[in-house]
Symmetry: C2
Subunit: 283 residues, 2 copies
């Protein structure tokens, strides 16, 4: 497994592999890898000849009051998990190489970021769009894998690839959960023991919605109100949003007639957690 | 010379050439080609194995009161000039293929568009940035040639390539002029006979500035005032801007100590014309 530290070296490595007609699959991450990331690497591994992982805590996707400075890091463990998952090159750039002085380009989507997390994190998806565009041009992959846990991000990347004509296939990876249902996230590391219990309110909400839907409940306002009550029955929780929306456009839906995305964000203590599920009244 | 009409076919053509290890040079244009474009094609021709020309009147770079609907077109003549200049593929997309329904991505530079033409054409350079990004991802060139007449555009493309990490070398082509000094432009076709004479006010202004500089004049306000008088001595002219600026950042300069860009925009009748020169007090 190669460790590559500059974008010039990464681009040279990728160009070299392409000259040898080898295909590249790419998994971009912010590190502090867990089984969710491992599943993305395992999904990507058989798709191409090479598997590139990037680890970069991207400053432009954090708001001024968010957790950039405290974001957890553990490079040694990350490299060990990457090697086991069959990664052939790890790209570990520094901030100054990705955003040199005089960097001034912004990439914004006009519609998709106006929903869900985008409402509460106004700079987040512009930061994601610009770093992913850069990483695509540096790594030059044939395919790239993004997790469904960041569902809005996945949709934004899919739209970005369509809009900017990247010749890259986007592959979606399933949400990976702890045994008790908590969706895996690097931010779970922030949770105290009591908060860890309250964090179950998110996956329990998804289960409750499926249950209510199975019983014939279709009015999203009614389901949302029951979910709100469930979440607030756990200590130290504060709902940011509970949203039922059309899975492609992310537009809010009032009555569930066909497959919808249920997405939610909850603050547990100071930690902001998200989760989602595609739910289908026909099933 | 191949004529390629869809982005899927263009991308396939380019990928195929790359598989054969052939290098690609790219000249993007809005058509109605003149000797300025020919010089860009001739500059690009020896640089790579293939020479791709695109012709696309990009709607997103025109403001609501600009000349999108009247922009001149002559595809037959364009194809004839392209073939003579050694173009191996012409990309002729339609608007609906470049901007499909639900297109929603914006690319904006934060600093460079705040000067010169960008002040008067608020959506122009965002439109240029997005279409050039798309064309780069569709054509996948190794090099791309842009003319110096659109100096601000050239600087913006250079910054875009740096900021988004495109693996593309940007090559600058000189301004090509008519015998009497008028910089070649597709928009010269709009000029009546009397306007054609007044259009000389732009190149004459550049000559005047060089003359004044040679005489030791360094104060840009003084030179600008003489240029204003010169331009307004031609009928039907209206100065939009006369700007002395730092050639990389495009920031306004008050006293000429080293090489500066003199750029100007003048309305001649209803036609907006631009011209520029790098001028150096040491020469």
């Amino acid at each position: 497994m190669e460790i590559i530290k500059t974008k010039a070296d990464m681009q040279a490595w990728s160009k070299n592999k392409k000259k040898e007609s080898r295909t590249l699959c790419f998994v971009p991450t912010m590190g502090y890898l867990h089984q969710g990331h491992v599943s993305l690497m395992e999904k990507g591994r058989p798709l191409c000849d090479e598997l590139v992982l990037s680890i970069f805590v991207n400053p432009t996707q954090f708001g001024p009051n968010e957790d950039l400075s405290s974001y957890p890091r553990n490079i040694e463990n990350d490299l060990s998990l990457a090697e086991k998952a069959g990664v052939t090159a790890v790209f570990l750039p520094i901030k100054e190489d990705i955003y040199p002085e005089n960097f001034q380009t912004e990439i914004k989507l006009q519609s998709l970021p106006n929903h869900l997390c985008g409402k509460f994190r106004p700079v987040h998806f512009a930061g994601v769009a610009v770093v992913v565009t850069k990483l695509f041009n540096i790594v030059m992959p044939d395919k790239a894998v993004f997790g469904m846990k960041d569902y809005q991000q996945l949709q934004i990347i899919r739209q970005l690839v369509l809009d900017l004509d990247f010749d890259i296939e986007i592959v979606a990876g399933d949400i990976i959960r702890e045994k008790d249902g908590l969706a895996m996230s690097s931010r779970n590391a922030y949770l105290s023991k009591s908060e860890r219990t309250s964090a179950l309110s998110l996956s329990r909400s998804l289960a409750l919605a499926k249950e209510l839907l199975a019983k014939g409940e279709k009015n999203t306002a009614d389901i949302r109100s029951k979910i709100d009550s469930l979440i607030h029955s756990f200590p130290e929780t504060k709902v940011e949003y509970v949203s039922f929306c059309q899975p492609e456009t992310l537009e809010e839906i009032k009555v569930i007639e066909k497959k919808v995305l249920l997405a939610l964000a909850v603050k547990v203590g100071k930690t902001r957690l998200i989760d989602n599920a595609l739910i289908d009244p026909a099933q």
